[in-house]
């Protein structure tokens, strides 16, 4: 029984980080109409930023989180207009081209990181937190708890922005209908760029936190892309509550599989569930598709 509880708690803690990856991704999907295949690469890049920052400056990566957000948001701010341009272009298949573009971006990031860091997995080292807490026989490593809390704060700020500011209102309007929002005086291009910037910032930051929990290598980017996609598909587009639940579910699913089936099968179980989910809920999915 404790084993089960342990697995669930571990899963929930890591699930919070998956939520942090997915909320921005989901919003960028809704606003830009592009599945960013590079989402996993932003995660990995975030983790490597933590590693490099630690090695060069000796500052603890956790103190670095706000800087990470700013840096990644700046990169996203530069890339956003390009994606917007491809997506709204008059090419033959703009949706496909948008997908191909982010795929190229993901491949570029993977190749660049492999060139610089190699295949050896790295971990973000932090000294602020260590050890673990034990509650009712359930062991909770401090690093995971802190990571979870950081993720909660980031998600909370993000939701505050989305639901309690005027710009957030414009973002939500754009996600619902670009044309209507544009007619109401929303600068769709600027909003799209802003959303992409926030998304990259959030994902990079979450990546740094994940890098402190799990070791990270450029080859793992795809895995986090699939995780983020898993969450968004399961949640249904535009549903923030859905993203919260699905992210936590993914964490628990992963943890339970690792505990009871074996770590080798984790990905396979996740893939199978994702595949089945895609088949069971094509309706919630296809409603918003424009491809």
């Amino acid at each position: 029984m404790t084993g089960l509880l342990q697995a669930v708690v571990t899963g929930l803690l890591i699930g919070g980080l998956y939520v942090a990856i997915s909320v921005g991704f989901s919003l960028a999907f809704g606003v830009l109409d592009v599945v960013d295949l590079a989402v996993g690469m932003w995660v990995v890049l975030g983790a490597y930023t933590g590693v490099v920052a630690q090695e060069w400056t000796g500052i603890d990566p956790f103190a670095f989180l706000p800087v990470t957000f700013v840096v990644f948001a700046a990169i996203g701010w530069l890339l956003g207009p390009l994606i917007y341009r491809v997506r709204t272009s008059r090419y033959a298949l703009p949706a496909l081209m948008g997908l191909a573009f982010t795929f190229g971006l993901a491949t570029l990031m993977r190749g660049a990181m492999l060139s610089v860091f190699g295949y050896t997995p790295r971990t973000v080292q932090t000294h602020i937190v260590h050890g673990s807490w034990s509650v009712l026989g359930v062991v909770m490593p401090a690093i995971r708890v802190i990571g979870f809390l950081f993720a909660l704060v980031a998600i909370g700020l993000f939701l505050f922005f989305l639901y309690f500011t005027r710009t957030g209102l414009a973002v939500r309007a754009t996600a619902q209908s670009k044309e209507s929002a544009g007619l109401m005086g929303v600068d769709v291009k600027r909003i799209s760029t802003l959303v992409y910037a926030i998304y990259t910032g959030l994902t990079g930051m979450a990546g740094m936190l994940i890098g402190a929990v799990y070791s990270m290598s450029p080859e793992l980017g795809l895995r986090y892309t699939l995780f983020a996609f898993f969450v968004v598909v399961l949640a249904g587009l535009g549903s923030v509550l859905g993203v919260l639940l699905a992210g936590l579910f993914l964490g628990v699913l992963q943890s339970l599989t690792t505990t009871y089936v074996g770590a080798d099968y984790t990905l396979m179980v996740v893939f199978v569930v994702l595949f089945v989910a895609l088949l069971l809920f094509p309706h919630g999915i296809t409603r918003r598709r424009t491809a």
């Binding site: 090419y91 190229g104 993977r110 595949f275 895609l278 094509p282």
Partner: protein, 348 residues
Amino acid sequence: MTSVGARPSRQSTVRMAGLAALVVIGATFPLWNGSYSVRIATGVALWAGLALSWNVICGYAGYISFGHVAFFGIGGYTTGILMQPQHGWPFLATLPVAALVAAGFAAVAGWPALRLKGAYFAIATWAIAEAVRELATVSGFTGGSGGLTLPVSSSSTFFYYAMLVTTALSYVLCYVLLERSRFGFRVRAVRDNEAAARAQGIDATRVKMEAFMLSAAIPAVLGGINAYWITFINPDSVLNTIITDQMVVMVLVGGLGHVWGPALGATVLYLVNEQFLTSFGSSTSYIAMIGIIVMLVVLFLPDGVVSLLGRGRRTGLVRQLLGRAADDVRPGRPSDEAAGSAGRSRSR
């Protein structure tokens, strides 16, 4: 829509002469070249075929598959397993089996997955490919991560001809099926407007499935030949995501939905890759370069290198698609009026 209509006979003659020259060069290549060149040429043939297969599902059927490496790997493993001493199949007999296994797998995976669209299909195939790789890594009959060793054959000329003939036959098959037969029209009709195609009495599900199976069988045969060629396969070598990456970039660079685009893209990029390997000795910078090329092509040359050859020689779908999109007032939504010129879309 007539993609290949009546052409001026002079162009047709030039075309035939070019094709004949290619055939002669291809057939006699090992006679006047060293083993290194033959090896490179074998690689070019392999990748031209792989890129072609990806073009079938993406360029013609309009479905992005990010899991095509699965079929390549399945073909390689089928040949590899059947050629193990305890089974002892002759090499050539394994190739049809490889094609059948991959096509069957495509049918099983495609039956549910082809109901998904766009990014969802892309991710589903990606997940399938990753699952296949995981499976090959943990299973016993594939040799796990240790891989499989195949009997060694010393004749590099044999592999050159095997690759070349397979790829050439695939091109002929795809050309006939997709550009010269009703099947091709059905596939494109489903891609352009599935509801309208269904209303015309086309069994869209079946057509998509057939296209997917065709697109799966080609890499499986090539994968089988490749396995025997390199004599040792493991999940890292034949189920690596980079193989899908390469197919995508080759088709995009060559020209999406064009018959000769993939061959052109594959030849150029494979030679660039070899050059990269000999000059830098690293393949990771090549991955980064692929990414940059994809982004640049999408931004500045969305219809590929083929479009640089001049409008007179540009045939096929790309022009029509672009012509259609160029007339579209609202971005991102293809209008139903198929008219307009091709060049306009690139004027931005």
